[in-house]
Subunit: 427 residues, 3 copies
C-alpha cells in the first residue's frame, strides 16, 4: 500500500477555497478542477425548478460581494476573506442597522469562540453573517452598514458523473458531495479521495465490475440523481459507498446501510476491522449524509459509509476549524483512500470457489506442504488448508476470510496459486 496521501492533500488544497453551495460557480470550479485529474468526467446539470420526487431543484445562487462595515468604518465578516462568513443561500440585502438590530442576523458559537460556524438557509429566504464569538463580543454599539450583494435566479444545479466499464454490467457506486464551502474533513476530503480512487479504478486492468462515480450536492443532488436514474441504479448497483469525512487521522468509522446486511456492509466492516480493530461502528440511526436517500424505502441501494472521524462527531465539524492543517492531513487522507480502495479490491476479488477434487488435495506433491511430518510443523500452512476446506461452491472469499479470521487480502495470492495449480476453480 503505497503512500498517496500527500498527492491527495495537494489536490484538496487546490479546491479548498472555492465557494461551493448547492449551485453556482464554486461547484462548477470544483468540477473543472476534478476534470483536470479525470479527463472523461462528464459535467452535467439539472435546471432550477425541476421537480424531483418531493423536492424542487433550487435556484442558482451567486455572490458578488458580502460584508459589514462597522461603526469604526472597518470592513468585517467579509465573504472574500472567508466564504463561511456569509450564511449559505443568503438573499440580497443592503441596509444600516444598529448592533442590537443586527444581532438576530449574526451566528457564532460561544463555546468555540475561535470558530466561524457554517450556516445555511436553503429553503427559507434569509440573510445572515457568521463570525467567531471572540469577534462578536468585541463589536461596539453604533450603526452597521450591511452589504449582501447576492442573486438567486433560474439556472442549473451541476454535478459530475463518471462511468467506467468492466467485464460485468453490475456496478459499484461511489458518491461524494461538493456543496460545502471551505471546510476540509467535511467536505473536501470526500471529492479529493474520490478523485484519486477514480484514477486508480481507471488504471486497473481486468475490472470485474463497472463503476458509477458521482460528485453531487448533498441531499438535493442525490435525490435529483436518483430521480433521473432510479431504474438503472436498482438494476445495476450491487455495492457502493458514500464517501465523506475521509481525511483526518484520528479514527476509522463505519455507518451501515439501512438494514445493515448488504455486501457493502460486510466488506466495509471486514476491511475496517483489519485496518484498525478499534474502528467505530455507528448505526443507521446516526446517519446524516446521502445514504439517507440511497437507502430510503423503495430506493434501497446497498450503500454503506467508510469514514475517518464522522460528521457531527468531531469538534471542528461545520466550522472554520475544519481545515487542511490541523484536521485533515496527508496521513489521514492516505488511510481513508486505502480503506476504500481495499474494500473495492475485496469486492473485485470476492469470487466463490470450489475444490476440483474430493477429499484434501495432496499439497506435498505440488510443493505446497512440508514433506516431513513433525509436531513442530503442525500449524504451518494453516491458512492455505483452511481456505481450501471452505471452497464449497457457497462461500465467497470474504465469507472465508471472516470464518478463518484473516484479512481477505491474504487470500488473493493463495486463491490464484491454487487456481493455477488446478486445485480450485471459480464457480
Amino acid at each position: 500500500m503505497s503512500f498517496i496521501g500527500q498527492e491527495i492533500h495537494n489536490f484538496a488544497t487546490e479546491i479548498f477555497p472555492f465557494n461551493r453551495s448547492l449551485t453556482g460557480e464554486g461547484v462548477r470550479d470544483t468540477l473543472l478542477k476534478i476534470q483536470t485529474q479525470i479527463t472523461d468526467l462528464k459535467i452535467d446539470h439539472y435546471p432550477s425548478g425541476k421537480e424531483v420526487f418531493d423536492w424542487v431543484v433550487p435556484k442558482e445562487w451567486k455572490v458578488s460581494e458580502a460584508f459589514i462595515i462597522s461603526p469604526e468604518g472597518k470592513k468585517i465578516c467579509n465573504f472574500s476573506d472567508n466564504n463561511l462568513h456569509l450564511v449559505g443561500y443568503s438573499v440580497p440585502y443592503r441596509g444600516k442597522l444598529s448592533l442590537n438590530d443586527l444581532q438576530p442576523y449574526l451566528y457564532s458559537i460561544p463555546d468555540q469562540p475561535d470558530a466561524i460556524p457554517y450556516i445555511t438557509s436553503y429553503y427559507e429566504p434569509r440573510w445572515g453573517f457568521c463570525l467567531t464569538h471572540n469577534q462578536r463580543v468585541e463589536l461596539s454599539d453604533g450603526v452597521y452598514e450591511i452589504v449582501v450583494d447576492t442573486s438567486l435566479f433560474d439556472g442549473v444545479m451541476n454535478f459530475g458523473e463518471l462511468l467506467i466499464p468492466g467485464k460485468s454490467e453490475k456496478e459499484i457506486f461511489l458518491s461524494t458531495y461538493i456543496c460545502h464551502p471551505s471546510m476540509a474533513n467535511n467536505e473536501i476530503s470526500g471529492p479529493s479521495v474520490t478523485t484519486f480512487l477514480s484514477k486508480w479504478i481507471k488504471s486497473k486492468k481486468n475490472r470485474e465490475y463497472s463503476y458509477r462515480i458521482i460528485f453531487i450536492p448533498e441531499t438535493i443532488g442525490s435525490i435529483s440523481y436518483i430521480a433521473h436514474n432510479l431504474k438503472t441504479l436498482k438494476e445495476k448497483v450491487f455495492a457502493g459507498f458514500n464517501i465523506t469525512c475521509i481525511g483526518d487521522d484520528r479514527c476509522y468509522s463505519f455507518l451501515p446501510s439501512r438494514d445493515g446486511n448488504t455486501i457493502s456492509d460486510v466488506v466495509a466492516k471486514h476491511i475496517l476491522k483489519h485496518t484498525d480493530k478499534e474502528f467505530l461502528q455507528y448505526s443507521w440511526l446516526d446517519r446524516g449524509s446521502d445514504e439517507r436517500q440511497y437507502c430510503s424505502p423503495g430506493v434501497d441501494l446497498p450503500i454503506s459509509s467508510i469514514m475517518r472521524s464522522k460528521y457531527g462527531e468531531y469538534p471542528e465539524y461545520h466550522t472554520s476549524l475544519d481545515n487542511l492543517i490541523s484536521v485533515v492531513t496527508p496521513e489521514g487522507l492516505n488511510g481513508g483512500y486505502w480503506a476504500i480502495r481495499n474494500s473495492i479490491e475485496a469486492l473485485e476479488n470476492n469470487s466463490i470457489y470450489k475444490v476440483k477434487m474430493f477429499c484434501e488435495p495432496q499439497l506435498g506433491k505440488r510443493g505446497l506442504y512440508p514433506t516431513l511430518s513433525n509436531k513442530r510443523d503442525y500449524k504451518t500452512t494453516r491458512t492455505l488448508t483452511n481456505f481450501i476446506s471452505y471452497c464449497n461452491s457457497k462461500n465467497t472469499l470474504i465469507d472465508i476470510a471472516e470464518i478463518i479470521g484473516v484479512p481477505v487480502w491474504e487470500l488473493y495470492d493463495i486463491s490464484k496459486n491454487l487456481e493455477v495449480n488446478g486445485i480450485i476453480e471459480k464457480c
Copy 2:
C-alpha cells in the same frame, strides 16, 4: 395515563371475601358482582361430569359450615372466619379425634408461622383444615370435634364470557381466573383488573380488533373453554394475555408463550421494557397458569403473561398473607392495568406503513423540520425521520419502535401526523 388504581382496589375489596373454588356459590357471586360493572357479561356453565379432552368437569362443591371444637370448647379453624381454613374441595366429615389423630388433617407453614396456607384436593377425596403455625403449636392435648358440613353433587362449573366486536374479526383474547378464595394478588387482582380493562375496551371507539374476555376457573376452566371453542380460538385469536398476579407494586414480570415468538410476546416485552426497565423475564419453564393450556401442543394460542410479582415468587403467595392491604395496593393495580392496557393499545396501533414517495420527503415545506441548518439542530426531529426511514411496507409500528429505541406510544401521533400530511400510508 390517569390513575384508576383506587377504583379497581375498591372493586377488588368487594369480591375478595367470596369462597371461590372450581365451582359453587363463590364463583357465581363473583361473576354477578363483575356483571354489575360489565352488564353484558354472559354467565355460562358446563355441567359436572362433562368430558373435556383428558379431563372431567368436577362436581359442584358447597360448604354449609366447617370448624373444629377444641378440648377447651372453643370453635377454631372456622370457615366462616376465613375460607382458607378449610382445605378446598373437602369431603364431608363429622367425628371426634385426639390431637395426635387430628394432626395428619392439619396444614400449616412452620417458617411462616402467621400464615394460613391455601390447600386444595380437587382430584382425591380428602378433608382437612389449614391454620397458622403459631395456632397449631398452641393446640392442647385432648379430644377435638370436627365438623365439615360440605356436599359434592352434580351441578355446574360457571364462567363468564364477554365478546366485544371490532372492525376485524380477528380477536385479542384475555383470560383471568376466579377459583381462589380470599387471596389478593393471586387471585383477586386478576378479575378486578380484567373487569376494568373490559370497561375501557367497550368504551374505546374504532376498535381495530374484536375481543374475547373470559373469567374462568384455572386449569379445568380453561381446558373446558378450549374444548368447546378450539376451532374458533385457533381461527380468530391473534394475540392475548393471561391475566393473573397483577396487583402488587414490587416489580413487573413477563412470562412468554411456549415458543416465545408471538406478537403477544413481542408487545408485552416492549411495553414492560418501557414501563420498568428492571422488569423480570421468566421462561416457559417457570409457567404455572392457564398458558399451560393455551400454549399446549396442538392448541398453540399466542398467549403471554404480563404480571406484577409472579405466582410462586413472592413470600405471601398461596397464604392468608396475600391480602389487599400490605400486598395488593391501588398503585400496584394501577401499574398492572396500564401495562396491559398499553399492550392492547400497541396491538391496536401496530400498523405497517409505507412512504408514499421515493427518497426522504421534504419536511421543511410542511413545517416539520427546521429551515436553518445548524450543527446544533443536528439531532432534532430524529424520531420523526428515523420512523420514516423504516416505513418500508414491512415493519410494524412495534418493529420500528424496537429498532429506533423509543416506546411505541411516541409513534402514535407521529404516524397519524405523517399520514394526514400525505407522507405515509397504511399497507
Copy 3:
C-alpha cells in the same frame, strides 16, 4: 454407567507395541488382535499404486532391523527397543558417517530432553533416527555405522470394516485410525475404545440404526475408503464420530464438523456438557484428523470428534512420553468410552413425539402427579410436564433436553413411561 476402563486398558496394552504405519505387519497384527474381540471384523485392503482421488495408495513398508553402532561399539537407536527410533517410512541405508555428517539424520526435542519424537516421511524418500535429546548431546565424536534394513514394495494397505445392521438402513459411522506406532493417547486409545464400543453395539437389542465402523490408516486410509464408498456413505450416514485421543483423564474435548451444525455436533456437545461442563470446544480451524476428509467439500459427512486431550494440545503428543502409564489410564479410557456411548445412545433415542390429546393430560389420575395442591409441591414433576409441553411433533428428544436444561438420558424413562400411559406417541 459401569466401569469398563480397565478392560479397555488391558486390551490397549496388548496392541501398544506393534509397529503400526500406513501399511505393513504392524497394521495387520493390530487388526488381527481386534478381530479376537470382534470376530466378524472384516480385514480388507487396497493395493499399492491404486489412485484414490488426488492421492495414491503407498508402497508397503517393512522393517527388518534398524540401529546405529556408536564409535564405542554400542548399538543405539535400536528399532527393536522402541519403534519410534526409526523415522516412519525410512528408505534402506547402510553406511558409516562421522557424527557431524550423521546429525542431519537425527531428530530430538531440546525442550523435552527425555522424549523420543515421532517423525515420518511418507511422501519423500528419507531415512533418519529419533532419540532423546539427552542421549543426543552425549554422542561422542567418531564414526557411526548406520543400519536401516527396510524395504518398500508393492503390497497392500490394510484396514478393518465392521457393518452392524439395525432397523433402519441409515447409518452411524465410527472411524478410528491404526497407523501410529507405540503411542497411547494418540493413537492406541482410539482403536481400543472403538473395539469395545463395537462389542456393545453388537450386543445392543433393537438397534434403531445400522453401524459402519472402520479401523484405517489416517488420511490416506480415510481418503481411500471414501474413494471406494462415497455414494453409499453420502446416502446412508446421518451421524458419526472420528475417534482419536480418547484415553487420558485430563479433560474432554469437542471438535465440530466443518459447518458445525449437524446432529453429530448437537449430540456431542449436549453429552459433553452434561459429562463435564468444563469440556473444551475447539473449532474446525483446529482440525487435524480424518474429519479433514469426511467433512471436505463435496464429501460433507456429518462427522464430529469427541476426545479427551486433543492431538497437538498436550505435551506428550507425538513422542514416546505418550504412554499407557502416566498419560492414558483406565479412568481416562472409561470416560472417553462413555462419552461416545452416551452420544450413540442419544442418537438411538432421539425420537420426535407428539402429545395425543389437546391441553395438558391429567397426570393425577394416572398417578403421575401429586393429588394435593400445596405451594411446597410447586416445582415437583417439572421435568415431566416440561417435557410434555414440548412434544409438539417438531422437537426431538435432544432438542427438548436442550430447551428444558436436563441431560437427555433423564428423558429416556420419562418418554417411555408417557408412551406406555398413552399420553404421547412417536411421530
